[in-house]
Point group: C2
Chain length 229, copies 2
Amino acid sequence: MVSSIVVYGGSGALGRAIVSTFIKKQWNVISIDFNANQEATTNILLEKGDSLEEQAKRVIGAISGQVDAIVCVAGGWAGGNAASNDLFANSELMWKQSVHSSLVAAHLASKTLKAGGLLTLTGAFPAQKGTPFMIGYGMAKAAVHQLVASLAGPDSGIPADAKVNAILPVTLDTPMNRSGMPNADFSSWTSCFEVAERLYGWATGEIPMTSGKLVEIMTKDNKTTYVEK
Amino acid sequence: MVSSIVVYGGSGALGRAIVSTFIKKQWNVISIDFNANQEATTNILLEKGDSLEEQAKRVIGAISGQVDAIVCVAGGWAGGNAASNDLFANSELMWKQSVHSSLVAAHLASKTLKAGGLLTLTGAFPAQKGTPFMIGYGMAKAAVHQLVASLAGPDSGIPADAKVNAILPVTLDTPMNRSGMPNADFSSWTSCFEVAERLYGWATGEIPMTSGKLVEIMTKDNKTTYVEK
């Protein structure tokens, strides 16, 4: 029987690598994003103006049957400290981009994730501490970190033996990061395909993982390590 | 010169105790809430339908001059796990009640808090770990905890020598809690006036505190202890 994965944010840089990797492994891949990913088996398209409830209805109404894995790599970034004129707009945007998607993924897991299935969300390395220059971003990611701990707890509403974690990459090697930081040391950036292979290992059980953990992803001299926190 | 405090949530059970305590100490007390607190020196009234931006405009537009302390004890509670039909509505509500108020308090601090002033927000003891039965509440409070760490960091936008923390009471002795849990052991609940006196000590500097900390407030046999985490 063909295995299935839902990739929330399947048209972003990391999402595309995940879709591509799982398609090559002959999985059925459902991409959720504002734009279609032509490589995916199925696309669920979101609308920018959607409220959380509307987004949830759109996603959950479109998926029937059970899936083996749900990965949420939707998100965004915005800076600004407490004095910033953008504090409120950016905090709301970060909440929408990181938390709305993670919450819909969690609820979807309660309805469609198979016993023993994988739910991976996306946190942020710096949000494990204070982030004075990016207040809204840090709060939203801290909320996602706490959500992972909640979902891994007893009677959280997702299958009891599901595996839940969050990836915390430091810097992903994406076209946007390359154009934003053209003189950086790329050997310390993490390849999106490297992360996609790790997710495949977790999804199939070939790579062991501990439910409820935040997984710091660090790359040095093109070698990537994964540390569960 | 008269000292001033802003009490966000000044008409709730804890807020009323704080307003009353600081009024008795002859402070100028500005209460912010949906309903006026007649004991306060000044009231700023919020509207239920306010967006974050609207709430901020209402609050910040009404306060001129500098204040010695800003305390945010606004908030609420809602339960539900990831499978709950109320997951989305409750998560949005918790974000509004706990995070909107804390963000406006933080921005207000960047504009009006005196050097060395106090900014205290309200966290939640259980949100330091996973909260499977109250997903939205846990996420919002985890966001507030991370906000405290951000605000205490360098160049966070509030005065560099301001003191920032969050109170994490276990159970406050309020009329609502008494009616909800009539058979509980009240000697393990924390008096709102006890917390108000502690805030007064922090605001005046009579009681030392470490900026950036979460302060667990636990009561046993009517004796309350404060532990900085």
